[in-house]
Symmetry: C2
Subunit: 377 residues, 2 copies
């Protein structure tokens, strides 16, 4: 095992769960953060003589994770740094959207992207509020995307287009193995060029939650009916229409799962039933973990990317902070399978990173509380 | 009913649930915020063409509450103002602490207060992070409190001492009706002299959670064994010791409840089994509501004050934003009885306002999101 030698982020390890590693895939070296002494030392540091133990509750748990991620030897508690936080929003289209699995169409993905580039999306307001740099990555929108003339200067646009939307999974794998590798590498590459110790991840793409449901079902053994039971984004005017829509979606997803029954490893499932944005988010998580950054994961689709990243390298979860539990029932199951307890439970029906930005002040608070308890000098 | 006339906050109404209104108690005029059209108008304002409805989830619910509190006619959505937020921490001692209901003693209350005045408490760090003015109110500490020479300039200290700790409820009512009235009035008075549209409330006082459990049990019919089942703050080294402590606490509280069986209205229960800080917080809530301020309620003890305020004037709940659910099981039951769903669930074991400050960025985020969706001009 070469895992204990060399610098993190430099060497490569083979994918963890794949009997036949995908040709050409180079994963960054990612070390688990476990450190048995750190929890006790932190508890001692945070203990106050006239307060109950564990007074900070889950904030202390969060703090322990952050300290572990950034820990040096000996652990230097006063050095917790959360500077220059970055929000990456990966946008891609999904051929499966043609099968009517969503109330929206692929054209809506583009509209959402333009909305964000123009500073009109919820994430724009929240990123400005909390001082996040916001970068939109075109991972594979169906449309040709160029920066609109009225785009907000604060929003960066990166084109890492792998294809003009993934293929319709009913007819073929969503992407070729080569595309999946390219998308994973692109995600790593994007992170490699970003500053900061904190990375928040969100996504845009009609059909993304179908991919998330399929990946959750395949990688965790959750019945597809439970994984995809998310009201299909219908504008909810008619409960009956929503129910018809839900059944139609489930029928299509069952067909997809049957067609790609052989795709059981994380990589194969990603290629067969994933999306470009999911692959890139998984790559981004792996790279961020290798660089010992904190990763704030938002929403169901980003959660599916975490599943894939976990399949490729289980230690990545040490670096993931799950920001919120969205309204999608599949998201709840996904978090249970990752044994993750999200910081917020606000029933959001968005996944562009809003939840990550909403949870961010809790990280700041944890940082402040630690700094306060750190002896001066 | 004179409720619809005159300015809010000027006239007085009689306590809602008391057959014999306590002599001398003057409650501020408090109007419910209900406005049927506002929810639909807000949903329309927040709806985006390419996003699911209710995409903001509970943030939209929060926003509706904030807009209702500050609504004018016609509703002016762009005027949501959350300026100069204030944190009030009310400190008081409880004679019942002598009966060993807590692992801490009354002297520890003073230590916590001094800790806060010196800027060493968790709330200090969080108040600084989020720009809250912090005021400590001595509602009735057992000790004589004077500002220590090394106190932080940013922390204001108000002395509104009603007594040197409340009396031991095992032997007599915690306070006389006159003291309860004085404490309620003092809470109103403190708020009347504060600026800002947002008021966060927390408390300090060993024995406060015993009062909270008793009030919850009496005013909501929750069995005392459930209401007080909160691990008794023991430093948790020994599970057995904690269990012995828990049983002892319950036994004492059952005696208290039996002794004061006649105290069934909110006011009578407050006087018999409450505390000075609880009375003042209830008064503060009523006054803040009358002035249409947003009230951020933290912790189990502040929750008990909300119960009392609700008993005196049910409309006050329209103005209360419950920030967090603490680790105390009684707190969970209390929130259920108030039909309140807190913003955070971080298992804190503190009640000085930390939870309110941690939840505050969600209010800011809601404000930003609303401003973004408000047509310019």
């Amino acid at each position: 095992m070469p895992i204990m030698s060399a610098q993190p982020g430099m060497a490569s390890v083979k994918p963890a769960d794949s009997a036949r590693p995908p040709a050409g895939l180079t994963l960054p070296r990612l070390l688990p953060t476990t450190d048995a002494g750190l929890g006790a030392a932190l508890a001692q540091r945070l203990a106050l003589p006239t307060q109950p133990t564990q007074a900070l509750g889950r904030l202390q748990t969060l703090l322990l994770q952050l300290v572990r991620i950034q820990s040096t030897k000996p652990p230097a508690f006063d050095r917790l740094a959360l500077d220059a936080p970055q929000l990456l929003v990966f946008a891609a289209d999904h051929g499966i959207a043609d099968a009517g699995v969503s109330a929206f169409t692929q054209a809506d993905s583009l509209q959402r992207v333009l909305h964000l580039l123009r500073g009109q999306a919820a994430v724009n307001a929240l990123a400005a509020l909390h001082g996040f740099d916001l970068t939109l990555v075109d991972a594979g929108l169906a449309a040709q995307l160029s920066r609109p003339h009225d785009a907000l200067a604060q929003v960066s646009l990166l084109s890492r287009k792998i294809g003009h939307g993934s293929r319709n999974m009913l007819l073929s794998p969503a992407m070729s193995p080569q595309q999946a590798v390219a998308a994973l590498h692109a995600g790593m590459d994007v992170v490699r060029h970003l500053p900061g110790q904190v990375l928040a991840l969100g996504s845009i793409g009609v059909g993304g939650s179908s991919c998330a449901a399929l990946l959750l079902s395949r990688l965790c053994g959750v019945p597809l009916a439970d994984a995809s039971n998310d009201c299909t984004d219908a504008p909810a005017a008619h409960a009956l229409a929503a129910e018809v829509q839900r059944k139609h979606k489930l029928k299509q997803l069952l067909k997809v799962a049957r067609r790609h029954y052989h795709a059981v490893t994380a990589f194969d499932a990603l290629a067969a039933m994933g999306g470009f944005e999911i692959a890139m988010m998984a790559g981004a998580m792996l790279q961020a973990g290798a660089e010992r950054r904190v990763v704030l994961v938002d929403g169901f689709v980003a959660g599916a990317a975490a599943l894939v990243a976990h399949g490729l390298c289980p230690a990545v979860c040490d670096y993931l902070v799950f920001a919120q539990r969205s309204v999608a029932p599949g998201h709840r199951l996904l978090l249970l399978h990752l044994q993750a307890r999200p910081l917020l439970d606000l029933e959001l029906h968005l996944g562009q990173g809003e939840g990550a930005l909403l949870a961010w002040p809790l990280l700041q608070a944890a940082q402040r509380l630690l700094a306060q308890q750190t002896p001066a000098g």
